[in-house]
Subunit: 231 residues, 2 copies
C-alpha cells in the first residue's frame, strides 16, 4: 500500500505529473525502491536498460566516456529526475553511466512495466515526449556552448547551473550542496582541472566565489552571470 507522501512525490515529477490518484497508485504499486551508495553506479554506459529509474533522494551524476578516454559529465540529476529515460523508452543501450554522488534513493520499474503503463495511461507518453524534448533542447544549448564559448564562460555556466539546481544558502552566498571537486567541474565544462583551479582562484581573489576541498560557494551570482554574458 503506497503512502500518500509517495503519491504526492510522483505527482510532482515531470514523468508522472497530471495523472489521476488511482493511476499513481497503480504506478507506485509496481515500483521497487533501490538504495545506491555514494560513488556506486546506478547503471553503466553501454548496458541494456532493464529498468527505469526515478531519483527520490540524493544526487546522481550522468557521465559519458569516449573511446579515447576523455570523460564528460553531462548533467546532475536531482530528486524527480529520471536518469537514462531516453534509453529505456527507446530500448537502446545507455549512452552514459549514472553514478550516485551521495547515498541516494531511487524507485525502479522494469522496462516492460513502463511500456504497459504508458499504453494504459497515455498521459505518461505525453509527459515523456515533453521531457525528452526538453533534454534535446538542453543538449543543443550545451553543444553550442562547447562549440563557441571560451573556457572561462563555460565554467561560470556550470557553477550557475549547479547553484540553481542544488544551492543552499550558507554564510555569505550559496553553496553547492554536494561534494564537487575541481575535476568534476572540469568534466562538466570540458576542460582540465588545472584550468578550473586557476579560474576559481582568480574569481576567489575578486570575491566572486569561495571554495575549499570539494566545496564551492558562489558569493556573487550577478558577477558570475556577467562572466557568462561576456564580461
Amino acid at each position: 500500500m503506497p503512502l500518500q507522501d509517495d503519491l504526492d512525490f510522483l505527482s510532482r515529477t515531470g514523468l508522472f505529473g497530471g495523472l489521476a490518484p488511482d493511476a499513481l497508485e497503480v504506478i507506485a504499486a509496481r515500483a521497487t525502491p533501490r538504495l545506491v551508495r555514494a560513488r556506486q553506479a546506478v547503471f553503466r554506459q553501454g548496458g541494456e536498460p532493464t529498468h527505469l529509474h526515478l531519483v527520490t533522494k540524493g544526487w546522481v551524476k550522468i557521465g559519458h566516456v569516449t573511446g579515447s578516454g576523455a570523460p564528460l559529465t553531462i548533467r546532475i540529476m536531482e530528486p524527480g529526475d529520471v536518469p537514462g529515460c531516453v534509453a529505456v523508452f527507446r530500448r537502446t543501450p545507455y549512452p552514459a553511466t549514472a553514478t550516485a554522488i551521495v547515498d541516494s534513493r531511487l524507485l525502479t520499474w522494469p522496462t516492460t512495466a513502463v511500456g504497459e503503463l504508458m499504453e494504459r495511461y497515455p498521459r505518461i507518453s505525453a509527459n515523456a515526449l515533453e521531457m525528452v524534448g526538453g533534454r534535446t533542447e538542453e543538449m543543443l544549448h550545451r553543444s553550442r556552448e562547447f562549440a563557441t564559448e571560451p573556457v572561462e564562460r563555460r565554467i561560470a555556466r556550470v557553477l550557475l547551473r549547479l547553484v540553481t539546481q542544488a544551492g543552499q544558502p550558507v554564510g555569505e552566498g550559496m553553496e553547492v550542496s554536494f561534494p564537487l571537486s575541481r575535476q568534476d567541474i572540469a568534466e562538466m565544462a570540458g576542460t582540465t582541472l588545472h584550468t578550473v583551479s586557476r579560474t576559481l582562484r582568480m574569481w576567489e581573489r575578486s570575491g566572486l566565489v569561495a571554495g575549499g576541498r570539494q566545496r564551492v560557494v558562489i558569493r556573487n551570482e550577478k558577477g558570475l552571470r556577467a562572466v557568462t554574458a561576456g564580461d
Copy 2:
C-alpha cells in the same frame, strides 16, 4: 484524394511509419504542400511553431545563432525528416532557423491538427518519442565531440556525416549532393572557414578529398575515418 505514392512516402518516414493505410490517408488529407526556394527560411529561431514541417524533397539546413553572433549549423535535414518537430510537440519557440539549401518541397500540418492526430493514432506519439529520443542522443554525441575532440577530427566527422547522408558517386569518390561552402562546413564543425580551408587543402594534397567552389568530393572515405579515430 492523396496519391498512393504520397502515402508510401509517409509510411517510410520516422514519424508516420507503421501506421495503417487508412490512417495515412487521414493524415495526408490534412497536409498542405509548401515550396521553399533555395536560401529562403522555412521557419525562424524564436518563432512560434504554428506548423509541423516534413521535408519531401530537397535539403534543409538547421542553424542556430547565439546572442554573441557565432552561428552554428546543427544538422542537415533530408526528405522524410521533420525539422523543428521538438518545438512543435512542446509548443515552445523554435530553437533554430531552418533554411532551404536548394529549392525544396515540404508538407505542413497546423500544430493543432498534429495534437489531434497524435491522440487519434497513438502510434504517432510512440514514433515521436523514438524520434526525439534519437535527436537527444545525437546532440549528446555532438556535445562530446565539441568538448573533447580537436578541430581536424570534427571536420572529418562533418564530411563523413554529409557524404553518408547525401553522397552521390562521382568520378573517383562520393560527392556531397548540394552546394556546400567552406563557411558551411566551419559552422557545422564549430570552427572558422580559414581552418577548414587549410585542412581541406592538406587532405586534398594527400588524396583524401577533392573540392572546388562549394563542392566537396570524398575520395578516400577509409582515410577520413582514420582521422576521426585519431590518426
